[in-house]
Symmetry: C2
Subunit: 345 residues, 2 copies
């Protein structure tokens, strides 16, 4: 079969991609090792482009100007500063021909995992992670997110685009070179669907964006962490991860597609500041982050894009997994206090 | 404040216990170590009862007979075979006086985390885990689950009782002595609520239990693993964990409170067989398991208790955490095939 399968739980509105194209067999789990650990060579570093699929987007720098291209045949081994290519083992893959398969989602409890799964190399420098990257490089990263988001969200079979980052082996990063991932799905994921539903309800009842309301309240709470002219950062009231924090744009927008150049720069600065604070506070802990955005046009008045950062400091165990209720041993108020201090130090 | 706080997300129907009574400070996460690793002494082993709170249930063996008691003053250092006591750092704690606090859940988005959190030591033998325990000992474990479930579910402020097991450090077990945990909550957890809702809907529409229907289908599918006269084991169709499997009683019951002696023995045998198979197949991997039960009387016709086992072989990363969609690199069909072989080997 050409696609991975998307399957819905018997009872829950919970979907899983059975990503057998990754070719793992059960016994592969008996011992873990990564390609990098095996060979000592980083496939994401310059010079090793042949170890990954061809790029869908490359930023080249020449004479201080950025050139964007897809065709890297002539550019391999030249000075790329951002490089984005399909994941070698994609969870979601584009349709090879026109097909209606993806429209069946929900009706039968299964579907083809049609979409995209890309890896975005954030820098030619192996460990130039956002916590200590140069701001101009981080600006390129955010711009590349925008480029890929724009292209992927324009496809007829794409309903959502998830941009996320895994940092550290314990947080699921099997390769340590600075990179993010982008997954385009043929449906709106569960957490986003719930947020959209609650946002729409609040907007209809109160006539305002629930997120704008939350930002204003949290700016003046013990959970506030930092802000600049464009972004506010706080630890969410019901954080399910120790030290979790959320980055919100002050300007109300459902998607990040239309953010301004100044906002891009301020997002880059906010990322560096907050992830740098987390790093210095907790000795470089693993973490995940994910953008939350809305791509459906009607969501413009009631959805507000943002970025959620989940430090990976605890293990969700039997209670969390079997009930869907979480235990967090650090209050968001204490988390915010520590992060405020770490950031200003 | 006397209780941990239960908090609801701004938008999602997602609850978290802010368990600050555990006394962790953010910087405690910079380096991890467990009590056991620090001292080399296991607080759960016989002779170290003073290192844990007083028991709420003890099984003593004398002349081949089991005596159940709560009062262990005279029995400390005698031959207990099962011991259950409150968690030293409980996520949920019983009310100290009559209070209506727990009734506020849902209306305000926060509540007191009223309930119970217990540790059940499964054996005086440090590493007598279900995968290789003696069947009579596992029968005691299941009986002790039943005793605690009976007592906790009779309390006016308890709406649900979660019985779960964490095995291995990566699966959240900070101490390696064979033990389970029991958490009684003042509300029905999210996953259970969703299952109940879907089960009720199916029953109203089709006049039968959806779980009975699933068991019959999966018994004849590629996902079937094993069965005996009382239990059927299979890999669920939309497994979100590699090698996940579910153990279902053949007899339709909402809660496990009324299971027969024969069923208890067959559950013990099923646990040993399946967890033993998992252990031999994957070189003793970490895992979690959790019982799913219904305590509300009206659920009798449409809910069917069962046990879900989640091997901990993958990391849920940025995509899973920010979207609620999962990627599983092992198909449940391949998982079942491997487990069938491992069990029969």
């Amino acid at each position: 079969m050409p696609f991975n399968e998307l399957r819905r739980d018997y009872l829950l509105d919970r979907w899983v991609v059975i990503a057998t194209e990754r070719g793992k067999r059960p016994t592969d789990f008996a011992k873990k090792e990564t390609a990098q650990a095996r060979t000592g060579v980083c496939p994401f570093c310059p010079g090793n482009e042949h170890m990954t699929p061809s790029a869908v987007l490359v930023y080249l720098e020449s004479h201080g100007k950025i050139e964007k291209t897809k065709d890297e045949d002539d550019f391999r081994h030249r000075n790329w500063i951002i490089r984005c290519f399909p994941n070698l083992y994609p969870a979601f893959a584009p349709p090879k021909e026109k097909t209606d398969e993806w429209q069946t989602l929900g009706s039968r409890g299964f579907a083809a995992a049609v979409g995209h799964h890309e890896v975005l190399i954030e820098s030619p420098i192996h460990d130039e992670h956002p916590s200590d990257a140069r701001i101009p490089q981080l600006v390129h990263v955010v711009n590349a997110y925008l480029d890929r988001l724009r292209e992927l969200s324009s496809k007829s079979y794409v309903r959502y685009v998830s941009i996320f980052r895994n940092y550290g082996l314990e947080a699921g990063a099997s390769l340590s070179h600075a990179h993010s991932q982008i997954i385009a799905t043929p449906f709106i994921p569960r957490i986003l669907k719930e947020e959209l539903k609650a946002g729409r309800k609040f907007w209809r009842e109160k006539g305002e964006c629930i997120f704008c309301n939350i930002i204003e309240k949290e700016r003046n709470s013990q959970r506030f962490i930092t802000e600049n002219s464009d972004f506010t950062v706080f630890a969410p009231y019901a954080s399910i991860n120790p030290m979790e924090f959320w980055i919100f744009p002050k300007k109300h927008k459902a998607s990040l597609l239309e953010i301004s150049e100044t906002e891009v720069e301020n997002l880059a600065k906010t990322l560096k500041l907050c992830l740098g604070g987390l790093k210095s506070l907790l000795n470089d802990p693993p973490y995940n982050f994910g953008f939350h955005i809305a791509l459906n046009k009607d969501a413009e008045p009631y959805y507000h894009w943002h970025l959620e950062v989940y430090p990976k400091l605890a293990v969700w165990a039997g209670f969390e997994k079997s009930t869907g209720v979480y235990i967090n041993t650090v209050s968001p108020e204490a988390a915010a206090e520590s992060l405020r201090k770490a950031i200003s130090a």
